[in-house]
Amino acid sequence: MKERVAIIGIGQTKQSYLKPEVNAEEMVNEAVRKAIEDARLSMKDIDAVVSGNIEFLEGHYQADCQFADGFGAWMKPGLAIQTGGCTGGSLVVAGTMLAASGLFNKVLVIGWQKMDATPFTGAINTTREPIYDRHLNVGAAAFLAARGIRYMEETGCPEEIASLSRALVSEGASRNPYTHINRRLTAEEVMKSRVIVWPVRFYHLAPTSCGAAALVLANESEAKKAVKKPVWIKDLVVVHRETSVYRGGAVEVSSSPDAVEKAATTLFKRNGIVNPRKEIDVWETYSPSSWYDMFDMERRHIAEKGQAWRLIEKELTRFDREIPWNPSGGVVCSNPIGASGMLRVLQAALQIRGEAGGHQVPKEVRLAQADAYGGTHWSEFFLLSKYLS
């Protein structure tokens, strides 16, 4: 029997391309203070601090130690996690494990990235095998482009759909004051943005962002005492993939099992969810490009294979329609990498609380699915619930 864990405190900074007014420690501290305040606690109530970012992109070695004071970790237990793009998800997993272990009642979880410290593509290139393909210098866009081309070839999806999907999430993003790109965009505007790697255009891609997110997690008995209504982490699933899927090509030639799909299938099956499209009230997914939205809907069983683009075509995925797909704007509107996965969980929790603000979906949110994605198709999936049972 697993001890149940809930989110009782939420804090985030405004995410933006540059954050020249603060250093990394100050930026994180803002999110930490907000989360503690939101939970109506003080730092001394926190039993452990879990933190993480992709430290190599900014150059900080052992960043958790370097910024321990600003993180609120002084004289407290804790640990640091780094799993690339899904760091934010891995952090929530670690926080949940600690809170459920019986040893820690309240755990502070911190995800952050300050990307203004580095030339991004040069830095992300260090994620490539140094001898095999680092010299190709393509960054993440090339993988996404290759995927997009394959999708169009296989399903007959027109090129404009990705742009429409981007426009639909911008409806929510424009109402989310914290997100990085909160401009409302039309599909035409997106289509007119410059090509990065055809068919991927500027607005199809996750931007380079700075920002921090913090959550206070508590075990069941503590969560029931919380001032605000707790948001329960009903279940979590972690599915990683071997690296050779990506060394042999981000595009897999042979039909091969999909980590995202496995995570989604496991999560839904384990929790008796038969029709995710109907039963999940909000989706906050780590879709790093508008070209991924179609795949990601299909892998989450919202649509049959090759059919998701038709849902987008009918504009059903807007935050106030049938399938609220990334009402916050998602990763394509804001991507402080180490925080991104956590922001998905955070935004889903705000929706369950009914505190999302302008992008609150117009219905009761009982169940929300949030996830982080990164590395070589690694996934951390969460099912958040308003009610304990």
Partner: protein
């Protein structure tokens, strides 16, 4: 601790200054392959095998962002749960234990690895200081540890000879440890004659460059009992961060270590560590640190670390044997350091430590540390379960 977590199996590679013939893939695979053989377990998530994996590594040492990608294939990362602790292996052991206690997983493999010789380690560690102020002053972990050692000398009158005794003890102990990198039959004078690196630290006062990897398999009480006749239980854990600025800390008084130790002692029901713990495996990056850590753990009064080693109490046959394996001064890589301490503790409790064996060891303490001058400490207390 309510439920118990135990150790099923352990494996260490031989530690060497450099392993130029091994890619990180190869370095990672050896201890994984061997521990699967030893334990007879497989990467299957149906309850009969290993459910999840946790690695301990750091991008800066690997020159590779998200460097856990370097061992995904090897650690059974195919469609299975995996995570990576960015730091010391003892923390990965702690995280694995928490994951098992949480009820999410039953059995976890922990891998820690580093190839230190591939990059200038002092340069890497200089990035451990925040960039605007302390990094610009040219600090790295060695020069910071030197400040700490000097502070310790000034405050308590510790002598270089006393510190050298730690080196002599550990390097001699390493002669009986088959995986040790640098066993040596040395004298105090050899340490005092070795080149000065950053005063008062001489070459032999510091941990040598090292490469290697190790693995552990942890599981629930029920499964550990089924899978091994020599169970070892994790009885207490504790960890703690201190401030990052050296000036905000009393360098000669490791309060975060004491805090971490007290958490673990309380959990394990230990009131007098000196009497109740039979063997200590500590992460001493410098000779002076072993003395300081002994004080922080409550094995002697503050400032008495020098006398403790002089008395012979920390020898294998002494009252509080410290690093019978040879410790970090005999060459253990970063990241691996803390996990290797846990493994050495397990070997002691199983009576498998060969020439390093502390007779009748029932309770052991393993320690890992991160950050300059021991800013963060992780303690794991283990008990023999048979």
């Amino acid at each position: 601790m309510g439920k118990r977590v135990g150790i099923v199996a352990v494996y260490q590679t031989k530690y060497e200054e450099s392993k130029p013939y091994l890619h990180i893939h190869d370095l990672a695979y050896e201890p994984i392959k061997e521990i699967l053989k030893i334990s007879g377990l497989k990467f299957v998530g149906d309850g009969t095998g290993i459910d999840a994996a946790i690695g301990a590594s750091q991008d800066h040492w690997d020159g590779y962002a998200i460097s856990s990608k370097l061992y995904q294939d090897q650690i059974g990362g195919h469609l299975r749960p995996e995570s990576r602790v960015r730091g010391d292996g003892a923390v990965a052991v702690f995280y694995a234990a928490m994951s098992i206690l949480s009820g999410h997983y039953d059995t976890i493999i922990v891998l820690a690895l580093a190839k230190e010789s591939q990059v200038d380690g002092r340069l890497v560690e200089s990035f451990g200081f925040e960039p605007n102020y302390t990094r610009m002053l040219g600090l790295d972990f060695l020069s910071a540890a030197a400040l700490q050692a000097q502070n310790y000398i000034d405050k308590y009158g510790i002598s270089p000879e006393q510190a050298a005794l730690v080196v002599v003890k550990n390097r001699r102990n390493a002669r009986f440890n088959p995986v040790a990198q640098a066993p040596a039959d040395i004298e105090v004078q050899d340490v005092l004659n070795s080149p000065m690196l950053s005063s008062p630290l001489r070459e032999l006062d510091t941990k040598p460059t090292s490469e290697g990897a190790c693995t552990l398999i942890l599981s629930t009480e029920e499964k550990v009992k089924k899978w091994t006749s020599k169970p070892v239980w994790i009885e207490g854990v504790g960890s703690c961060y201190d401030s990052s600025f050296l000036g905000d800390r009393e360098l000669a008084e490791p309060r975060s270590l004491t805090s971490a130790a007290l958490q673990a002692y309380r959990m394990a029901g230990i009131s007098d560590p000196k009497k109740e713990i039979d063997v200590f495996e500590l992460s001493e990056y410098t000779s002076y640190q072993e003395l300081l850590w002994a004080e922080g753990l409550g094995l002697c009064e503050k400032g008495d670390g020098g006398k403790l080693v002089q008395s012979g109490a920390t020898e294998i046959g002494g009252e509080v044997p410290i690093n019978p394996s040879g410790g970090l001064l005999s060459g253990v890589p970063v990241n691996v350091a803390g996990a290797d301490r846990v493994i050495e503790a397990v070997l002691q409790l199983r009576g498998e430590a060969q020439g390093c064996q502390v007779e009748g060891a029932k309770v052991a303490l393993a320690h890992g540390t991160m950050g300059p001058c021991g800013q963060f400490h992780q303690i794991i207390v283990l008990r023999r379960g048979y």
